[in-house]
């Protein structure tokens, strides 16, 4: 059966050349980066090249890039590491309500250590109002963390304005750019952020390698204490093959960025325009235009996300959902709730995210497969029956 994979935000296949670039580091170039002998230095050189490639993807310098194991680790290092390093200056963090759990829960951990956290609300599109950040800022705020783009609803946040406000208030600014990096152009200098998280697996690199950009001079308290790897900011033997893969993927993503943005956005817009046109009571979640080019998310009324996901999967289509039932914890998505969406509607979350290989044919296939699935599920939905009854009155 035809498979149409539209779950970029969960995982992507490797970009061309990435696996080939990684393979020698499982074999003849197996050395430990910290070893002074030829074998070690052969690996070390390659890691530094990868660092350079990752730095170029976001217009940083190589010394400003720390490799981590995941986007979650990068977010933890930024939030906990920077807050703890500035403890003498203050104890408040300001975050948006739609941050990734690795930011929100890292902050929750800090609360147990005596830090205070202010969550800035978002509007109905999940956009943070820079004015609300200004209001939340206090003299004792040491860190502001607002994501660059939200994977679940696609919205790109007005980060440059937020940075200006936070800087004027004397706080450091971290941004979780995991969903954005490699998919939209990023320039850390233009943004003015102090820290930025990115993950290789969001731009067709392997899982297991991610990075934190830390502006020169900004130092976190390490989460992992140990040796001198990553200039003492992150101990532990480097995952060399994954780092090499991330570097190669960063080169590929940077070279392909302008084309990818245009190509993906065209396919995305077809979904955003057509699905609500073909199925009534379906709306786009997130901002329609300030949006990741490869992300199309919807709220489908009267049906539940996991049921949609399973039916789509049976048609060969892989997607995500933010519904409570499709999450392991069975909790409704905090992002959708923060947008003011009620629980029943939040249950109807479905997220399509395009990969490099997605074609116009794939999108047409989805547009044809989707309406009958919704029709079927609605026919068995008591909420839909109730809606029909009420609208007949």
């Amino acid at each position: 059966m035809k498979r149409v994979y539209l779950d970029h935000i969960a995982a992507t296949p490797l970009a061309p050349g990435v696996l080939e670039a990684m393979l020698p580091f499982f074999g003849e170039r197996f050395g430990n980066v910290q070893s002074l002998h030829t074998d070690g230095q052969s690996a070390a050189e390659a890691v530094e090249e990868a660092r350079d490639s990752v730095a170029r993807l976001v217009n940083a310098t190589p010394a400003e890039i720390i490799f981590t194991s995941s986007g979650s680790e990068a977010n933890n290092l930024a939030v906990k590491g920077l807050a703890l390093a500035q403890r003498s200056k203050g104890n408040r963090l300001v975050l948006s309500a739609v941050e990734h759990p690795s930011v929100l829960n890292a902050a929750k951990g800090l609360e147990r250590l005596g830090f205070a956290v202010t969550l800035v609300p978002v509007d109905a599109t999940a956009a943070v109002d820079p004015g609300a950040v200004a209001k939340a800022l206090t003299k004792d705020t040491v860190l502001v963390s607002v994501m660059l783009a939200n994977a679940e609803v696609g919205t790109i946040e007005p980060l440059a304005e937020i940075v200006k406000i936070a800087k004027a208030g004397g706080a450091l600014v971290h941004t979780d750019a995991v969903a954005a990096a490699g998919n939209i152009p990023i320039d850390v200098r233009a943004l003015g952020v102090d820290a930025l998280s990115l993950a290789g697996d969001q731009f067709a690199g392997p899982k297991g390698a991610a990075a934190l950009y830390l502006r020169k001079g900004v130092r976190p308290v390490p989460l992992i204490d140990g040796g001198v790897q990553e200039s003492g900011r992150r101990a532990g033997t480097e995952n060399v093959p994954a780092i090499i893969g991330m570097g190669k993927a960063a080169e590929w993503a940077l070279a392909g960025l302008p084309g990818w943005g245009e190509r993906a956005a065209k396919l995305r817009d077809r979904l955003l325009d057509e699905l609500p046109a073909r199925v009534p009571r379906v709306r786009v979640s997130g901002d329609r235009t300030r949006r990741l080019p490869h992300q199309a998310s919807f709220l489908v009324e009267f049906v539940e996300g996991e049921a949609m996901l399973l039916h789509l999967d049976m048609k060969g289509i892989a997607v995500s959902s933010g519904s409570a039932c499709s999450s392991k914890s069975l909790k409704a998505s905090h992002v959708l709730l923060a947008m003011g969406i009620d629980h029943a509607t939040a249950q109807g979350s479905v997220v399509f995210s395009l990969i490099d290989a997605t074609t116009a044919d794939d999108i047409e296939y989805v547009l044809d497969a989707f309406p009958p699935i919704i029709d079927r599920l609605r026919k068995m939905s008591p909420l839909y029956t109730q809606f029909l009854k009420e609208s007949a009155r």
């Binding site: 929750k108 049906v303 539940e304 996991e306 399973l310 249950q347 008591p382 029956t385």
Partner: protein, 197 residues
Amino acid sequence: MIYSDKVMDHFSNPRNVGVLADADGVGQVGNPVCGDMMSFYVKVKDGRLSDIKFQTFGCGAAIAVSSMVSEMAMGKTLAEAMAITNEKVAEELGGLPKNKLHCSNLGADALHAAIKDYEDKAAGRKKDAGPTKAGEEEHEEECCCPYCEGPIEGMESACHHCEIDLVECEACGKYTNKNDAACVNCGAPIAPPAAGK
């Protein structure tokens, strides 16, 4: 696959989906906040369930459970149908993922509510036309902060975990942010604090 073949079979080809306009009993369980909602309709003839239909809003497990319950109970006496438990339904389906055992496995409760609805009507104990809802008190959610999910003890005005000012929503009775325009749980508008005279 997270579900057994049998669950997937009942999910993709659910038996007895629909509404009985002339039902003898109607039962409901769940609400969209906890994820799943099931409506069961029964016809009773000579003390047996002569027809059963259901509608379910929910995940794969919830749909499969509803379908399985309707199949297990079809043609059974009321006593036999009342003896069907949620556990037996899960067993019959070849098991359910652990996290689905509580919230999605409520099919038997919905069926029992429909039977109780029939019995109450037959005995003249019930006059209104609305469906009977399954013991909601048993499924009440733990009282926790809707923002950080930390526990709330008693009548606190702020969550001591995430420090959000909380107020009980007048519409749904759950905690929400006092400073928001609408309840985070049910979307009802939150009255701004009354201006003091």
